[in-house]
Symmetry: D3
Subunit: 337 residues, 6 copies
């Protein structure tokens, strides 16, 4: 049942101020390498599959360090291309309470990944190998050459019988032309996708759809089926998340499949590191689909996976199938000896 | 009023991943040395007595480091025997929220302590000196030679007029034969003991007693007097502890003495490091008994001692009598200048 | 609109045990340099003004390190005098839950600042430059020479048309003679001050005033106007703060000005580092007064400034005007990208 | 030219006191995972080949952490078996000057690797894949089951046309019966090996051979050809190493092949971390043999590889072919920009 | 005698792997902010002058952190412009012995400084204030807009009677067109400069001059007077540096002034952090010239300043005049109490 | 052969900047507790004796931390008095190469120890127990009350048959009146002492003796016998130490006893932490005298003890008798497994 999951995406260096200090107060940084593709490929490895990443990294010590970090996460290095000059980076200052976290990017568009072209990747081999290929809206925002690689790759994998997964993940700051600029690219990816991660906001803002309902639940129930129908998508999934006044988070997942909605319980939990939770949810959906879980089980598995990702340090989900299944039974233990 | 408290038990090296990372994410460990005997002997020292530990440690740098750590805690080194080859160790990964903490043991049965025999200890001198000797159910689970040392030592101390304290502390993973294997050894220790730490679960599961009550309070009130009578025990004490939904803990202590139950208030508090709280409670009971506190005062003193142990780093209780008495008055200060 | 704010006060070295360990458990300390004057001068710099500190520091590596730290905070070094032999220090052990934080002072009275005399400072130049000068009750408690410098300086600044701000900040442990010894000095400073930081307790305990009300709100409304009238003070401001059972704090600021009380909302928030919150509040009041905010805006600005100071590491407030104004609109963001 | 190198050996957890402190002075440890097999497989990966490790690791968080660490080093996880209970560990205290480093082992014989049997490994697949298989004398010292696995595996690889490499690496403390007990096992491995790492001491002490020469150079030149002839070994290589009075080390490598000795220059250099230098030398020999370097080039390549391994933190060699070739040209740069 | 020294240059963020690990081995970085201009302005502050920096920094948390760091070093913030998007960065891996240090740059040309134009700086005010202005060849290599700012600024300062200092500091990797591209810009700066830092290599390679001497001493003595004459330069200074086999460095400074050469002693010393030593030498020359030291004293003062900069952590020289003068007397103390 | 060694002296808190940074560059400190008395008592414990310290410590968290640290070192707490207000402290910045280390003291004269009087110590009990009592010239410099305690204690121990050891250890900065003020107190201590640590400089400078020899060896051989005779001292010992150009140190010990000089070899070695080496030498002499070593063996034992103390972190010697004896045989091992 072991499958090959290939993610396409950029590796970013995350440089984080330890604890809750500001950059102007500290003098050390913790670094790691992540990105949506990294997170999904790595999470699928922990869930028992073989995770691959299609990306390009500079041929210098920063690129070497990124490769070693991907190996550390269990990601196969077969589809990693080397060359170009730079690696995308961002600095993270953790917030506290009423003070938000802050992210500061370095110049990302000159990175090896964002200046790579189709010929940097062995498309034939990738399409041959991939059981699932995963793309994300962040990558789609980058540059024309990147978008071209995404679309060609999606098409090739589909031709070879692989499954295409697309996570909408719209980041306003990345699209100079706003929703209007994004829409045609999103529509093209949605037409190519078998599994889509999104919620009602993506439908309304990116695709410009209208809802009669004033509430997000109603909007979700109205718009997601329309999207599935229009773009011919097998499964659509996503979450509603809210922050409670006592700083815990509440998460509820949904999966729309076979013209039916399936919802997880409302999960409430303390959060150690919020980043990467969405990718853990995606991985849970993919694993459920690959493994033949019932939709009910899949959506709860994914939500619990998203919850557990909030209890570990770093962006990358680390839970195994056994750990997620055991947490689904809801037993909260103090110490496991 | 200064007394000599002797604890018999193993010193374990605790190797803890800093913060909330997993072993597979980190590359440093914090180490310390602890164990029930260490905790009790050290806590009694902080309460103004002289704490001793009867144990055996390897004659190598790990053993040296353990000895220095015991000295650091104020424990007298007179009864520490050196020799054998290994030190018991465990690795601790701190959980967070829905993710439990994990403990991984190294091979403990080959440790210097667990392979020691009677002749490693100067039984005569120990019995001569001890006002109280403390044993625990973890040690009882180890091996025949360890059990023999416990029983002979308890008997010798009793003969010389010392007080024997036994903490039931049943750990399921340590008894291959389960409750059946444990019962005869527990019964022998209970017959030798003057002060016993336990609650209704020990009576029901280890000793196989039955209760008519479906609730733990009723079970406690029914079974503890039976145990006291059957094994002729002067004082029995213990706690009920629960984890609240907001992650605080609630603790209530009891002391059965003179055929009467005494209960502390229900104490609710935030927890920094849960390990060692039970040993702090035990130390509070012993101190109350040694100092001639009223049973009401003793049980509250012990419960507050258990609570304060949850506010400090590490297994070992650090509060002084003055600090506990002051916390019993319930004043929560922001900063003490 | 950029003004020159001059604070008069001691620089203390803060030596803090990392995390929640006790001094007897750890072997490293984090150090920084702070004090009410440092905090106010630095906070005013962040708010767009020029902050100065009138102080004296030893001419040795500790003094050098303090100067560098003041520079780091953006404080101008023009009024820092060098000489004398020592720097005041205190050790801080962070509490947790039911265990209070502990502060241990080294011998402070021999410090360069507390043994300095009038001639160590260029009074003429300071008075010439200061738009506002800030004093505090902690400094007033130190020694006769220090008190003399305070009073002469306040008088000189007033003569030159500057504004005098006095923060009552009574610390019981610093006054050997108690309230009786403190009263005359407080009265003299109050007569010199244009802006005063205090609440009803200062009126009752230091000034010996009586209130008919049994509640602090009633006491405040009764006594503050009396103080303003008696000592001819333009603006009086302060806070009521309480610690909630879930360990969050609640803060409410008031500003009495033009014979009217203005109150902020009750703000409730999690606390990362409580020290320095009062100085952030003071800075907010001073900024509002200097900038011509309405009293309603000033008091909320100050309270939010006090709240944000609790979300950063260290004593010194770090928020800019823009950050405070944005937090006043109450938007709690997760991550700012 | 990319080859598959398979090493057979134990993974040990190295727990190192930071800096130069003793275990009894510190409270943190740095941990990593290493072993001769790990070092060789990893080094070959850096040199452009695919490195595999045949080993067994416990199925617990320690084993998980070891696997992740092997992945980090680029080692393929295909031949890693999981099960058993323990992982071998050692504690390292760095010496300084006249004070030697100290190594303290935990009980190693109960480790998953040392209790594994033939059936834990997929011998057929391993023999199919391996271009070279590497064994070492440390492993040979462990236990009968381990020795059996070594010999069977060596034979299978040989049958399939693979090359067998054996590193004598005799550790006196590991053989209870001394040289006499070791000799038959060494002789069996030598008969199976194509490439052997050893020097004159192994010939004299383990194999009991006599030399007429009083000096190690003469002994080497006399005995190594005898060994090659007697056990029918294609290539024999090794080093002479000495510590100079200014704490630098001097290293000279030899390679005996085609009935001729080839020597590297005497290399003198500063040492940062000495452990792993021998394995780097071995890897250099294997790479030279696989790549078809001349013997002269191979022996210098190996010696420089051993030298560079002394300039990096940790046991595992990290130099690439390009870095070694560039260092062979002897250019010492200050900073590479 | 306090003067105003203004340096023009970029602030770079230095991200350094702690100790001697590689980027691929570590997970933390130490960061600081430096650059030739930063180093010179800061060093002059330590020597008792007022140091300013003309630069441009992004208006984000990285820029804030850089500003705070400049304040920390005592540099006045009056001439720091804010805006643009990025900050130049480089990663540093410390070498050891035969392994060279490695520097990896991020994309520098898009930095706020390198995209700034003349209008970003208040040229009039700068020229008004500067007693000395310092430029460097690294900045000259950047971009046309940067070069224009340099030349206009140099001219303005000269017109107002200030002294222009130019440090040749040729970095081959920064000039795409090599020496030919650099020469006209260097010639223009040399014509504007009163004090120049260079040695014979700059004369031969950049300016294309020929020497009859085969040795660097002869070349220096021949070419430097020619340069001084041709470009009408008041003082030219520089160093010869060599690395000894025992890893100590030897440094000898020269100052050509009044048509005469002055040389320091050959200083040999251990090196802790080599970066910044050249800027410390420059600062020593500037201080000597400003203070009216004899040329003999100036050149020794500068050389000792360069030596002491090698004994402290970080790029920025930290020695005071007193410390340098005391080291010139050559007393090597063990501990200063 | 186990003896009781009692040292009289102050416990100082050492606050050290990690690595080689200056106080103005760092933000953390490492702290420990030391002093000549601490070092000697602790070293004697490692050598198999029982070490006691007569001192006074404040009854606050700093004092608690000091006590725990003494326990850690194995020192018995029986003679530690608690009370007073302060603990002496000093800050240490490590030098490098040509840059000396710097020590900055806090105000020491107000410390609990330096304000203690005779009645703070149980003189009778101390005199009863001490086999040897150790005093030092640093303590003698402090204050009249301290000097009185020293002299009375020395006399009492002598009366009870104990041995008095006095280490001259003259620190110029501590004696306001210079040698003249010190002389009478030194003479009184010398008359009371059985074993004295000193060299020719003490004789010439403190005692004002003249030598005909221009060299220190000649001066030593001439003056030490005179001192022994004049003050009736059984054994006098000390060292000559020099720093070599390659930063190694050379140490040679002497012992004058039975009217004969005994010298150790010249030992040359690398130094990790120089502080405490003299106290290690003293401890070696005391151990030799107590154990009945020949003078030749004693002086070499002491010198090697002093050398080994330079190879460990911290002030306090840590070598055992076995380790010193083994180092005396001069075997330099790489790694001890």
């Amino acid at each position: 049942m072991r499958k090959r999951i290939v993610a396409f995406g950029e590796v970013m260096m995350r440089l984080q101020v330890p604890g809750h200090a500001l950059l102007s107060q500290a003098n050390t940084l913790q670094y790691s390498f992540s990105g949506t593709g990294v997170n999904v490929a790595s999470a699928m490895t922990k869930l028992g599959h073989d995770g691959f990443l299609v990306t390009k990294l500079p041929d210098n010590p920063l690129g070497d360090s990124a490769v070693v970090s991907l190996q550390h996460l269990g990601i196969e290095r077969d589809f990693i291309s080397r060359g170009g000059k730079y690696l995308g980076m961002y600095f993270l200052e953790n917030g506290f309470g009423q003070r938000a976290s802050r992210v500061t990017y370095s110049n990302r568009l000159e990175s090896s990944f964002n200046t790579a072209s189709l010929s940097d990747y062995d498309l034939g081999l990738i399409a041959e190998k991939a059981d699932i290929i995963h793309f994300c809206g962040i990558t789609l925002a980058m540059a024309d050459n990147v978008r071209e690689s995404m679309k060609v790759l999606a098409r090739k994998v589909k031709e070879k019988g692989g499954t295409v997964c697309f996570d909408c993940n719209y980041r306003p700051s990345l699209w100079e032309g706003g929703y209007a600029a994004a829409k045609p690219h999103y529509e093209e990816m949605l037409s190519l996708a078998d599994i889509v991660m999104m919620n009602e906001k993506d439908a309304m803002y990116i695709l410009g759809m209208k809802s009669k309902s004033p509430h997000r639940d109603g909007q979700l129930r109205e718009l997601v089926p329309e999207v599935a129908k229009k773009y011919n998508i097998r499964s659509i999934a996503g979450t509603h998340r809210s922050i409670n006044s006592d700083t815990t988070h509440t998460l509820r997942g949904y999966l729309y499949k076979g013209q039916t909605f399936h919802f997880s319980d409302n999960l409430s939990f303390s959060v150690y590191d919020r980043i990467g939770s969405g990718d853990a949810y995606t991985s849970g959906i993919l694993h459920g689909e690959l493994t033949g879980f019932s939709p009910e089980k899949t959506v709860l598995f994914a939500a619990v996976s998203g919850m557990l990702a909030c209890t570990v340090v770093g962006d990358t989900p680390l839970a195994t199938e056994m750990e997620i299944l055991s947490a689904m039974e809801g037993k909260m233990e103090d110490i496991m000896r």
